[in-house]
Amino acid sequence: MNISIVLIVLLVGAIATYVSGNKLASKIALLTSIAAFGATLYALNAFNGGENLDVNTIWINRPAVNFALHVDGLSMAMLLLTTGLLPLIIASGFVTKFENEKAIYALMLFMGFAMAGTFLAADGFLYYIFWEIALIPIYFIALKWGNGDIEARKKAILKFFIYTFAGSLFMLLAFIYLYTKGGSFDINKLYALQLNSTEKTYIFFAFFLAYAIKIPVVPFHTWQANTYSKAPGVGTMLLSGIMLKMGLYSVLRWQLPLSDSAAKEYMPIIVALSIAGIIYGAVVTLKQKNIKKLLAYSSLSHVGLIAAGLYSLTIEGFQGAVLQMLSHGLVIVGLFYVVELIYNRYHTYEIKEMGGIRIQDTYFASLFMIIMLASVALPTTFNFIGEFNLLYSLFKVNMWYAIIAGTTIILGAFYMLRMFQKVMLGGETKSFQKISKQESIVLVIIVVVTIFFGLFPQPIIDLIEPSLQSILTQIK
């Protein structure tokens, strides 16, 4: 048993989905993703039992690149997020009728494969490859199945692609530089590399550029809202639920340990930038008219907090960041799914054309509300645990950071409740067809998981804690 089984399942599933044809594709994709989740759970069990799930075989001799996958608590948690969300995202695709279904589901699985690989790779080069190929499927998903005017969409998505691609090229440069120094891409050897502080600074910022764009940190976020609003629902979910976590994860796994002294030196600036992002994102969110853009900017705000926690270089920050990645992933997928459900009925993303839904479908409204409340980090939801940790970590760095970043709980409540009010409440305006049982399953799962982990987060904390500690030791 090793962890590559998950990757194999996803890749084979992607191919099988494409081959199976349009009729079967969605079902096979769902089965595959569930199988991958099952495999992950099995792996988790084995991992908890102390089994070594790592893979390490030579792939390329010159340059020395190994097909190395390493499993620790952090990777495991991210893998759980990826394979856990994938079935939900695929299932949420069921509400929409796509043309050429086999292609979109295959691309989704392929993207899952790439993202899972990113979280597992223990070789810089392999990691970079996974990181980069994850871009391709989402580009096509957004391009082909996105919404809105094709010309505008094309532009927005191309911008997204080039922007993120640009960032990651700088990361590639950094990796190459490290390779020329150490002669290996192996993560442990890279960790052990002795670099002077100038080099570390350059490495730090090369990585930062890649991750700041991917995460995104203000002011590198300009691609985000447009891409989210142009991408189809499933694409947005993949982007916001999993893909932006790739950037955050990478900060933890690669950037900070590889450029420790620079990370410490620039910590205040980067944290301040992230916090500025929190506020800025929240403020911009307030006046959004398009619900997808609203959620995109809210995501910007939330992710800013996660980034701030990561760059605070404290164990609480790391822990909170990982927890918040998981919970934000769940919740944002739920929110975008809700948006899709509404879109399927109203065919618009404009908030002003919604309203009076709660009165027609209270069940839907309740589920939406719980997810919305989770996103504003109400205690007993999973998000609260993460946000608490994050704010606490910022507090440990500087009380003012915590206070300023903490305004997110006010502003977050402000824009979320405002959105909820405008979308769901009020008297009946347009008729809203009640959501069906099948449609609600995804939401119910998200709600249950969010609350469950809000009450019992300790297993996850225990899972990630040792790996985060070791990363922190590496930095210190």
Binding site: L391, Q421, L425
Partner: protein, 626 residues
């Protein structure tokens, strides 16, 4: 014992779950009964616990489950039952039961009654968690949980967007306080590595923390309390919260939730005792709130708004007591206030019910004869709140003022003015509602009736309690002070000797109240004045009816600028940021056009460039070489 605690805790939750999932199919009455019964079970459990925890007895710590760890801080689901929490639980669940009972009748016409009960149950659950939690985070769960329920219940009639606005406002203003609370939690957690009350208490004795940090922590916690208990400057949400159904106003926005701030400060008394500066702040904020809210209450015409401002004002008095370190006095007033204010709200609900939703006192009057039970229970409560001997409010308010007198004369003066105003506007309310002739429409007049027993019985019980509640803490022989003694480090403040000074103060307070009543009597009963329409008010009156323009000020200095910034950011910054970033792209794109001009298809140009290139090469290389 553990079973009792579990039952206490989870009975309302079970009620919530039953009602939310099956309420609709169970029918209105059944869901109402379930809702009431579960809270009643909690009440019984509390009684049971109350009988075991007496003054000086060991407190009960109950560990339910582990929650999570933050760094080196362990946070658990654990509960602390001591004198304070049991006392609080007693009136929370007790009044809760009564209000549930009342709601069965009051909400019977609403199609979403099961939802109403489920939210109420959920509220009680969170309130129990808030009160019984043994660490700051459990308290915070309850704290935010009750805020959520408050949001849900204020916006219970969600078809009306104004109500939704009120609900949203309540939630957000509470969140401002919550941020303060959270920062306070961080400071304490960071300093003590624990969030358990008892551990913090024992660690505080050791001299490890800088006083300034401690002050900041206390101040942050107090900001949290301000939000929840509607103290200035975070007070404006509470009057708006009257949009909710009246039982909600009674339970949440009068008797229980809004006193959570006082509970928290009392719970953390060992902390506040060490930070006299913050105590001063609390006292001042409380006093100012008391008088400001009371003055607004003078001119309100909505029956529930009057009560709401009265609540804010009374909460201000409680904070005054807290600020002076007289925690048991504050608790005493919380309890009596819970009785009479709940009674008043429920009474007003009864009136509104009778008038089919009419809340404007200008359209009431003369209800005394039609609704005798409502009238008399409300009258008792009004006397109590006005501080007339021997009703409960007299004792508790008197103790607050007496404490203030001993500590700080100006605060006492202002507090007294607030209570005179209280007497005035409460009697104004009574006169406008129950005396003179009915001023409503003919149709309303036909339907006037006394409310059914389910409504009047809670009124009677609460009215009785409002009348006699003072006995728990009579001056000189205070059971309450004695009971709560183990909680506080110092000797109870409230134990004033009944010397001549005390009598004099009581007399002054009573006279003040009577003056207030007298003015109200002359204006509204004798002269039969009716407040003028909203657009005719002028001068100071106008300022008061517009609540000192607080909402407008907030609108102008916070919300509007925020929106303006948001619009600016959305339309300008975003646009230009995006343009800057992609300006590189546009620039290369523009270069491309220029490039296409060079590539004009003329072979001469190509050759020329070629030869230029050669020349450049040769010149450069040979210049370097030589």
């Amino acid at each position: 014992m553990n079973t009792t605690i579990l039952l206490l805790l989870f009975a309302p939750l079970v009620g919530f779950l039953i009602n939310i999932f099956f309420g609709k199919s169970l029918g209105k009455t059944v869901s109402g009964v379930i809702g009431t019964a579960t809270v009643f079970i909690s009440f019984l459990c509390t009684l049971c616990l109350f009988s075991q925890i007496n003054s000086g007895a060991e407190t009960i710590k109950f560990h339910l489950a582990d929650w999570f760890t933050v760094g080196s801080i362990k946070v658990n689901f654990s509960f602390l039952l001591d004198q304070l929490s049991v006392l609080w639980l007693l009136f929370v669940t007790g009044i809760g039961t009564l209000i549930h009972l009342y709601s069965i009748s009051y909400m019977h016409d609403d199609e979403n009654m099961h939802k109403f009960f489920s939210y109420l149950n959920l509220f009680v659950f969170f309130m129990i968690a808030l009160v019984a939690g043994s660490n700051l985070l459990i308290m915070f769960i309850g704290w935010e949980g009750v805020g959520l329920c408050s949001y849900l219940l204020i916006g219970f009639w969600y078809k009306n967007q104004d109500y939704n606005d009120a609900a949203k406002k309540a939630f957000i203003m509470n969140r401002i306080g919550d941020l303060g609370f959270l920062i306070g939690i961080f400071i304490l957690g960071y300093t003590f590595n624990t969030l358990e009350f008892l551990e913090i208490k024992s660690l505080l004795g050791k001299d490890v923390i800088s006083p300034s940090l401690l002050s900041i922590a206390a101040l942050c916690l107090f900001i949290g309390a301000c939000g929840k208990s509607a103290q200035l400057p975070l007070s404006t949400w509470l009057p708006d919260a009257m949009a909710g159904p009246t039982p909600v106003s009674a339970l949440i926005h009068a008797a229980t939730m809004v006193t959570a701030g006082i509970f928290m400060v009392t719970r953390m008394n060992f902390l506040f005792d060490l930070t006299p500066d913050v105590q001063n702040v609390i006292a001042i904020v409380g006093t100012i709130t008391a008088v400001v809210a009371a003055s607004i209450g003078l001119v309100q015409n909505d029956i529930k708004k009057v009560l709401a401002y009265s609540t804010v004002s009374q909460l201000g008095l409680m904070f005054l007591a807290l600020g002076l370190g007289a925690y048991e006095v504050a608790v005493f007033h919380v309890i009596t206030h819970a009785f009479f204010k709940a009674c008043l709200f429920l009474g007003s609900g009864s009136v509104i019910h009778a008038l089919h939703g009419e809340q404007d006192m200008r359209n009431m009057g003369g209800l005394r004869k039609v609704m005798p039970i409502t009238f008399w229970t409300m009258m008792i409560s009004t006397l109590a709140i006005s501080g007339i001997f021997p009703f409960s409010g007299f004792w508790s308010k008197d103790e607050i003022l007496m404490t203030a007198f001993h500590a700080n004369i100006p605060l006492w003066v202002i507090g007294s003015i607030a209570s005179i105003m209280t007497a005035f506007y409460m009697f104004r309310l009574m006169y406008l509602t129950f005396f003179n002739d009915f001023r409503g429409t003919e149709e309303q007049k036909h339907h006037l009736h006394e409310s059914p027993a389910l409504i009047t019985v809670p009124l009677i019980i609460l009215g009785t309690l409002a009348a006699v509640g003072g006995v728990i803490s009579l001056p000189g022989n205070s059971w309450l002070n004695h009971y709560m003694a183990p909680l506080f480090a110092h000797k109870a403040h409230g134990e004033h000797h009944l010397d001549s000074q005390a009598y004099m103060l009581m007399a002054i307070a009573t006279i003040g109240a009577l003056v207030g009543i007298g003015i109200a009597y002359s204006m509204y009963l004798k002269k039969k004045q009716v407040p003028v329409a909203d657009n005719e008010v002028q001068g100071l009156h106008k300022v008061l009816s517009n609540k000192y323009y607080l909402d407008e000020i907030y609108m102008a200095i916070i919300v509007k600028p925020l929106y303006a910034i948001s619009t600016f950011a959305k339309n300008f910054i975003e646009k230009y940021l995006s343009k800057t970033v992609f300006g590189f792209g546009s620039a290369t794109y523009a270069l491309s056009i220029q490039g296409k001009r060079i590539q004009n298809g003329n072979i001469g140009v190509y050759l020329f460039a070629f030869i230029l290139g050669i020349c450049g090469f040769l010149i450069y290389l040979f210049n370097i070489r030589n």
